[in-house]
């Protein structure tokens, strides 16, 4: 048993040393991808959004609004158009993402208490940019509106500025964004994307592990043979996961507020789960390309399917049910919460227990797969050795 187990690990080790593919796919590519996404989102937020302004009023108030946008680093006011048609063309050519139109007689209408409107246009086709532009523009205009309101209340009702301020604000609402106060994309995306790549790598390499390594004629030795493969890919994946987590934490400074030991436990269980499942697929399907395709379809799009970005609660019911069966579902949110919230192990007990059940079930099915397989039906030149 032990001999077969060690031989199974040795076979994969030799393959890794000789052909380098396992090493490249599970370790090198994920590290490179983590460096890539870390660098890509390193500034955290979208800024310098290209903008055009059409100021038809050209009054002190309209110029104050214009300067507020020019001074804000979220916007790059690159165009001042003469009319709204020019602005439309800029949107059509994708040269701007935001536009502001201040109508003629704006200041006069404000003074006459006519509540005029300014118009904000956004290119809605790129959601993150539109969303950022919209929230920032609203913030700027709300501040200006409140300031103007205070001045007017104070002037028209002969009140002190502080009284006018209290009236203008009515109720103060303080909004605080916890855990990711800067709304950084880096904090939001990188840990999930970076580790999803590792689990894809484990799945793609382990999907063809069984046939490539020859099955023992003695069925009793196949259980330890399987175990060797699972442990090999699980361990390698675990190392890769930890390296990727460290890259995001230490190189790209994503705050890690939790206990690192929890990240170790969670990553080990994810890695073993994916490894066991992939070995199971490999034990059941002899066509390597089909096995690869199955694992690719299951694991590659995981960040979408498990609600890492678009939450599961907003998906249709079949998706909600299916998401719970993905190992990554029990990992991605927990890891992000470990980074950003510093959650404790107790809050993950359910997920950790799920992993243990998943590994056990997948291992049993994999065992059935290798027990029913006839050694001489192997394709693609795999030979049988004892």
């Amino acid at each position: 048993m032990l001999k077969s187990f060690l031989k199974s690990i040795k076979d994969e080790w030799n393959l890794m040393i000789n052909e380098k593919m396992i090493f490249i796919v599970i370790l090198i590519i994920p590290i490179l991808i983590n460096l890539l996404i870390g660098y890509e989102f390193s500034k955290g937020q979208i800024d310098h959004i290209k903008m055009a302004i059409n100021d038809q009023d050209n009054s002190s108030l309209s110029r104050m609004i214009t300067s507020s946008f020019i001074d804000d680093e979220v916007f790059d006011v690159e165009y001042f158009t003469d009319n709204s048609d020019d602005m439309k063309d800029l949107f059509k050519e994708s040269k701007i993402k935001t536009g502001l139109i201040i109508p003629k007689g704006f200041k006069e209408d404000v003074t006459k208490l006519k509540s005029p409107s300014v118009l904000l246009l956004y290119d809605g086709s790129h959601m993150p940019t539109a969303s950022k532009a919209k929230s920032k523009a609203s913030e700027i205009l709300l501040t200006l509106k409140t300031g103007t309101s205070i001045k007017m209340i104070s002037g028209k009702l002969n009140l002190t500025e502080s009284e006018a301020k209290n009236i203008a604000q009515g109720i103060k609402f303080r909004q605080r964004t916890l855990y990711n106060p800067t709304k950084s994309y880096k904090n939001f995306l990188n840990t999930g994307l970076g580790t999803a790549v590792v689990q894809s790598a484990i799945a793609l390499m382990a999907a063809v592990a069984i046939r490539r390594n020859k099955l023992n004629k003695k069925k009793s030795k196949r259980a330890s043979h399987l175990l060797g493969k699972i442990l090999f890919y699980g361990s390698l994946g675990f190392i890769s996961l930890i390296l990727c987590i460290l890259i995001q934490w230490k190189v790209f400074n994503i705050p890690f507020r939790g206990d690192f030991k929890i990240a170790l436990i969670l990553s080990l269980l994810l890695s073993l789960s994916v490894s066991t499942f992939s070995i199971m697929v490999s034990s059941l399907i002899s066509n390597k390309m089909v096995a690869l395709l199955i694992n690719a379809v299951i694991f590659v799009p995981n960040t979408l399917m498990v609600g890492y970005t678009w939450p599961v609660m907003s998906m249709p019911k079949p998706y909600r049910i299916a998401s719970g069966f993905y190992p990554f579902y029990h990992y991605a949110d927990n890891l992000r919460n470990l980074f950003l919230k510093g959650i404790d192990l107790a809050s993950m007990y359910g997920d950790l227990f799920w992993y243990l059940k998943f590994i056990l079930v997948a291992y049993i099915i994999a065992l059935i797969g290798v027990f029913i397989r006839k050694v001489d039906t192997e394709k693609e030149g795999d030979k049988v050795v004892s």
């Binding site: 208490l113 993150p128 940019t129 604000q169 109720i171 894809s200 998706y319 919230k341």
Partner: protein
Amino acid sequence: MFLKYLLKDLKETLTDIDIIILLFIGPIFLTLLFGGVYVNDYLEDIPIGVLDYDNSSTSRMIVQSFDENERFNIVKYPKTKKELKGLLDSKDIHMGLVIPNDFSKDITNIKAPKAVILVDGSNMVIGNNAYAHATNIIQTIASGTQIKILKAKGNLSDRAMSLAMPFKFTDRLLYDPKMTYINYLLLGFIAVFLQQVTLSGVGISVIKKGEKLAEKKTLKRLFSKVFSCGFFSVLSTFISVAIANKIFNIPIRGNLSLALLMSILFVLAISAPAIIIASILKDKVKYAQIAYMLSLPTFAGCGYIWTIDQLPKPLVFVTKLLWPLIYFARDFVEVLFKNLAFESVKDNLIQMGIYTVIWMIVAVIIFKKRFKVKKA
């Protein structure tokens, strides 16, 4: 001669189950699968918690405004701030509303009392949605309160309204007024599916027939392979676009001929790295393993999640040098979705053409070197 090869390759591709499933069924299946994820336009019933220390008619009115809003679902009423924070930590709620003691009294005394909204920002999609909709509710309540105070000070309704609202701002979202995830993402995914299936199809075909292709008339035969794979992958891409439009209601406003031209040019461009990687690996399993690993990093770096102007310049430079998706994905979507004109995508198409010529020369050289059969 080329046509003869092309017809033969089209027939071969059509009868090769591995390849045809990948090229033809792949994008359609994945479009249906991914489209389903985003089929609901909005987040609804975001679980929130309310800590109402005041328990006055005003505070209850505020709580009711949140309760009646379809975006929120009040699931918890914690008794302390610590308990509220614990609920946010454990993901039981994604937002908390805290109304302090004497809230109503302070409004009456014009002291502008402060209510606090705590948003869990760890998932930005949920956090931003909760934040935006809470802001809408709050602004409505705050303006209403302000007008009430001004009226109490003896102002007429209209005057009170104008003092509270010296100017308004109206938002208009062009192209996607509802700003939905499905409109933002699905067409971009289809562009990546075209990349992935062409990459896999061309690479695997080249590996399967490598030595034969290298024997004679290599260029013609390689291009024949590329076009035969491209025919099916582009066809399935456009069926996927039709699915996005008809089933998932994504508006297609653009010029389909331009989108088709871009797709054909992209198929040629992506075939160059496909041939290079296939020639180096010469093993279809290894090739597939590498090809599947490329979807995420190439999508992440192509200017889709963040537009090119937001990416670090050295990264854009290196990506443009190495991988053609950056010339294609965003423009392809904007042509379809926004009706972007040829003039606006021309520069990227020219750059992609230059990329294709240079890398295709490299690809053919490497291919010939790796697959040429040595004469005995």
